[in-house]
Each structure stands twice: as C-alpha cells, then as structure tokens.
Symmetry: C2
Subunit: 399 residues, 2 copies
C-alpha cells in the first residue's frame, strides 16, 4: 500500500504566502475598484538588465542552429563559464573559491530545501525565530528535529546562539529574510566558532548579499576564518539581478567540508551534494546560464547595480517614513526588507493595512513566534507605489 | 555533529554515465587523432525547432521591458498557458486531463527522483531490471527498499509482474529506457490492475512517448482504465522537442489518486506533491515555459515531428543493420533505443566497440543484471554518424 511520508503530515496546513494570496484575492473580489499596492512577497518589479536579455536572446538563437545547439550539460552542475564568472565575482570582495566548489541550480529555494536530504534524518536543525519558512518545512518533510535560535528586539532581530544548545545543521540568512538584520563579522564569527565546536554544518543563505553596501559587513560567510570547514553558502540571482522568474542560483561547498557517519568516519559534503544533484537534477537551461554569466560581467554588474540602487532608494524612503513616525524597525539598510513593530497582532495589522490602505505586507507572526507584533514590507515595489504607500502608512499610523 | 544520510552510503560508487565518460576521456587522450561517434548517452543532436526559438527570443525580450516582465509565478506549478497546452496535447490522443493536474517542472529526471520524497521511507519500490538508474538511486537515497521485476529476452525485455510480489511504488517506463520495449495496452492494463490490487502507486515515465507511431500502443498510462486511481505520469520535452539543454518536463497527478497513513486514512497525492514543489521548487523559467508552449501548437508539433522522424530514420537504418547481421534486439520501432545481444560481457563489448571502432554505446549491465550481455545504442546521432557507425558495426560483427 502506498503510504505518505509522515513528515508531510507534521507540516502546518497553510503556507504563509498562500494565506496572504487568499486574503488578497478575497479583498479584490469584494473591492474591485480599489487598486492594491503589493509590498508583501519579496518579488522584484524592474525588468532584467539589457545585457542579460541580449545574452539570452543570443543563446536562444544558438539553440536553433545545429552547430551551436547544446544538449545535456556534461556535469549538470553548471557550465564552467558560469562557475568561473561566480568565482570571479566572489574574488571581487576578497573570497577565493575554486569553480569546482560552485554548483549552479535553479534557485536558492530549491537548494535550501534539497540540501538537507543528504543529512541524516535524525539531525537536529537549528533555525532562527523568525525564519524563512522553507528551511523549516523542508526539514520537517524529511523528519528532522527543529530547534530555534531567538532573534528578538533585544538582539536587533539577529539570531543569537542559545546557551548549551547542540545542533547538527544550522540555517543562517544574512541579510536576513524577514528581519532585514545583517550579521557583522564578529557576530558571524561566533556562529562559525559554534558550528566548528559542534562539528555542525551551517547552511548560509546569502540571497540578499548584493544589497550590502557597508564594506565592513561580510558578503559571504567565507570571509570568516574557519567557515570553509563548517559552511555551505547558497546564493541567488533572484534579487541580485531580478531572476525571480528566470531561475538561477548556486551553492558553494568547500572541498574541506566534511560530515560523518555513526562510526565517526568522515565524508566530503561536496561529493555527496554533487551525487544528489547528479541523480535528481539535470542542470539549469543553457539560455539562463548565459544570462547569468552576463550578470557577472563589469557591464552586467553596473546595470544590475542600478536596479539595486533603485530598490535601496525605496528602502530609504521607507525608513525615513518610519523614522518620522517614531516606529522602531530593523532592515532598510543593506537589506531590501523593513521589519517594524506594528503594536498589535501581526495578522490584525495585515487586515487593517489591507482594508484601510490597500497595502499588502507580510505578518511577522507568519515567520515564527518572535515575529508576533512585527510586520515586513519590501522595497521591491515601484517608486510611485512606495511613495504612495508611505503616504498611506503615515496617514494610518500618525493618527 | 553533522551526519550523512545513510542512504547515500548504500549507493553504488560509480554512476554509469560517469564511468563511460571517464573511459571515453581516457581513450581520447591516448588517441587524439581518432574521432569518436557517440551513441551512448540519450542526448539529442538536432537544434530546437524555429518556432520554439522564436518564442523564447520573444519571451526574453519581454523580460527586459517593465510592462511585460515576469517575476515569481504565483503557484510555481507552471503557467496556465502551458498546463492548458499540455492538456490539449493529451486530448489529441484521447486522454482528458484537467490543467490543475499537470505540474510543470525542470525535467523528468528531477520529478522521477523527487516524487518518492512524499512517500514513506519504509515503502517497497518495484523497478524493472534492467532499469534507468535514477529510479533506483533516488529511492536508495531516501532509504526505500528496492525489488525488481525481470525484463528478459523471454519477455521481450518488457518487465513482467513477479509472482506473489507486493509493492507500494512501481516505476514503469514505456517506451522503455534502456530496452526500447513498448507496453501494449494489454500489458499495461495488467500493471494497472496489479497496482490497484496492491493500493500501490505507479510512477509512469513517458519521456519517450512522442516516438510511438503505432496507434495501437498507449502513449499515456491514462488511456488505461483505472489508471487515474493508481498512477502518476511524468513527461518530458527533452526527447519530444530537443529540450535536454533547455529543461522542461511535467508530472500529471490525477485528482482521484490517494495514498495512506499507517491508520489507513487517505490523502491526496496531488495535494502533497504540490506542497513538496511549493516548498522546495520555485517553477520553470518563464522563457522556457513560452518555448514549451510553442512545442504544443500545431506548427510546433509539425516542426518537432520532423526531428523525431529524422531520429526514427536513424533507428530504421540501425535495425536494418542488426536484421542483416542476424543479431537479436528490441526497440528501434516506436523507440529511439536499440537494445541488442552483444554475446560477451557488456563492458567488454563497450571496450571493444570503443577501441576497435571508436563508437561509444552503453553497456547493458550498467542498467541491471538482466542487462548483462546486452548493449544499448541510441538513434539520436546525425545521419552521417549513424550510417558510418552501422558500417563499422557491420565490419566488427560480421567477421
């Protein structure tokens, strides 16, 4: 008899963004004349950079000509041209990687979810609270135990290491989704030391690293001493270059990184992640890889930086508004998320903001208990919508 | 301490195609002057159809314009335009599906590998012997038990139901990779009845359905009565439309299909597969989905059929050669694979064919014990190479 994986029955029924989608649809049905400003889901709004579009058009044309057509990639781990481009990008902020340590994927979400598959199901997974739900759901699905590191107002909404805690796998995200907090080198070094002392592996989600403009803040965990022995880093072009609908990310697994069997024998994480991908994944479209390669050229970085600057100007307008209102928040600097105190249950504020001001945000409580009373807005909207939304937020909250 | 998932330690060390790749590289290094004819891995060689290239170029251009840019897909399960196009394609051979039952993915390999994640780890998985290694490896990775249904010379290399066998999950592939055998409706009905009587779920890999020209043969398991209550079907554009490097497939999960918990409560497979994909996958590139949509237009089907006809003419040349040599084989009709008796251990024949005739094929034993003494060649080469290879095979085997 075909039986369900019991892990799936332990999942909470409603995925946060599904619930938001449902509420928004209901509102629109009842109020078709009131246009909505969406600042909820972290999706970009600016088009792809011209250099990326040109690269993909050229690659599409190549696929139509016998001499330049590409079938299966040899490895399924990404074309050397893209792995080398990403290694070059990291070198630009002082991190040396071998192209072989970089595996190209269809996005950070897939890799964040799939990578726990190579770890034992009796692993203890530490995540922050609040947390991006994918880390939790994918761990619960394959039967792993979850423990939490609190990120609260007192800690600036950055997770801190719980006293006497033990963990086998640790998910960290900086700049943080949802709280917008960004680890300093000192904070991140504490996590690296903790992982090393536990023989744990950190899964470091750096999807938002391109938003860091303060040169003192680490853009990669591999700028921290010791991290190559305890960390995997998952990057994304979704926010860096507007690839949310184009799908390309990468996972960096240092050659030194090891994990263990019950007898204490050690195994290469890179080898087994490659094996997992080799058996259950077949690479990213050639066309998309050419588009991604273009992102990492000097002109590509210049063009994509224009979009990031645009979003960060939105973030500045938002933080200015919250400063003027005297509302406490994290993020908005080195991060496209603003995470603020809404002074009521998060879902109540969601309903209020939607019904009174037609703005869709994300209730902090959807990310964990420490998110209760908090609310997330994103800087990924248009300038006009951001300005209009902040006008409405000011009307609502200065009463 | 970070521990490895023990399932990974039960995998055999060498993935078949990696070993072939290693041997070929070694041969080329030692014999740089002897050009190789590749008939091993099932990769296509003809370019994408013009209509597909045009659709992707247009979609790439759309992504560069604010008004037509696409970010995240709402559902991550595929745009309605593509799901409807695939439903229309199935309707063309008499199978009615709701677009909601079709989930778009980055390829059949990913779905074949990932779908067992939603089933209990104590499931018994039945596969044929010989078998496409992905079914086995992905099941072993998550701790499932494998049993085999023999496909031998006596059965025309189609798997038959073992006596008194019980299984929870059954992988079937027709047209078969690697043996080229194709189920008749009667044979497939036996498997459906067996699955129904076991409350088992069939995972039906139909990646090669477009090669079926005999109208009496089933192109979908859903043309068999009862299949909607016991089967999932996984399709691919890789071979149908040359998408091996473009990456698009789909999985069909009927709304009626259920699986069970230990207490016998039933759950919708569609719901939990959607949940898995919603948490660990973020959809296929918009550009690729537009290319895939073009495949299923009347003109797209006409253009892609031209490529299939080209490959099947290769297959005809190959079967003609083996007929003339009096060598017994399956496939080559309604299938791009020719699976023949090589009258020695398969790897010995691999080495012989490579060293004497510079042809790369795939040793049958790499697919299972029943493949020992057998060898697979593909019809995906160029016409010139296919003719040249058959000349060389004739020289080698008519001695």
């Amino acid at each position: 008899m075909a039986k369900i994986n019991g892990g799936f029955l332990n999942l909470k029924e409603n995925y946060l963004f599904i619930e938001i989608g449902r509420k928004v649809r209901e509102y629109i049905e009842k109020n078709p004349d009131k246009p909505i400003i969406r600042m909820g889901i972290g999706d970009v709004t600016l088009p792809l950079a011209p250099i990326v579009v040109e690269a993909m058009e050229k690659a599409a044309a190549e696929m139509g000509v016998k001499e330049t057509f590409r079938g299966y990639e040899d490895s399924g781990r990404g074309y050397p041209f893209l792995r080398e481009a990403i290694a070059g990008y990291f070198k630009g902020f002082g991190v040396n990687l071998e192209p072989d340590e970089i595996l190209i994927s269809d996005g950070a979400k897939s890799d964040c979810g799939n990578i726990t598959d190579i770890f034992s199901t009796d692993s203890v997974v530490m995540v922050s609270d609040p947390v991006y739900p994918v880390y939790v759901d994918s761990s619960i699905m394959n039967g792993k135990k979850i423990i939490y590191a609190d990120a609260t107002e007192q800690t600036g909404f950055a997770p801190v290491i719980p006293q006497n805690a033990k963990a086998d796998i640790i998910y960290l995200c900086s700049p943080n989704n949802p709280t917008g907090s960004v680890f300093t080198k000192e904070q991140l070094k504490e996590w690296v030391d903790f992982a090393l002392s536990n023989n744990a592996v950190i899964i470091y989600d750096s999807a938002y690293e391109a938003f860091i403009s303060d040169a003192r803040l680490p853009r990669s965990i591999f700028s921290i001493e010791g991290a190559r022995k305890c960390a995997v880093e998952i990057g994304s072009l979704s926010k860096t270059a507007g690839f949310t609908g184009t799908r390309c990310g990468y996972t960096i697994v240092p050659k030194e990184l090891e994990f263990y069997d019950d007898k204490g024998n050690s195994y290469s994480v890179l080898k087994y992640w490659s094996r997992r991908q080799g058996s259950k994944f077949n690479g990213v479209p050639y066309i998309v890889q050419r588009g991604a390669e273009a992102v990492f050229t000097p002109e590509g970085l210049r063009q994509t930086k224009e979009s990031i600057d645009y979003y960060m100007e939105n973030a500045r307008i938002m933080t200015e508004t919250f400063d003027a209102l005297g509302i406490s928040y994290t993020g908005g600097k080195n991060s496209p998320y603003i995470w603020f105190k809404c002074n009521m249950p998060s879902w109540d504020f969601f309903d209020l903001l939607l019904s009174q001001k037609q703005i869709v945000g994300t209730p902090g409580s959807g990310f964990g208990k420490n998110g209760e009373g908090m609310f997330r807005l994103t800087a990924f909207g248009t300038r006009e919508n951001t300005i209009e939304a902040m006008k409405r937020v000011t009307e609502l909250l200065s009463k």
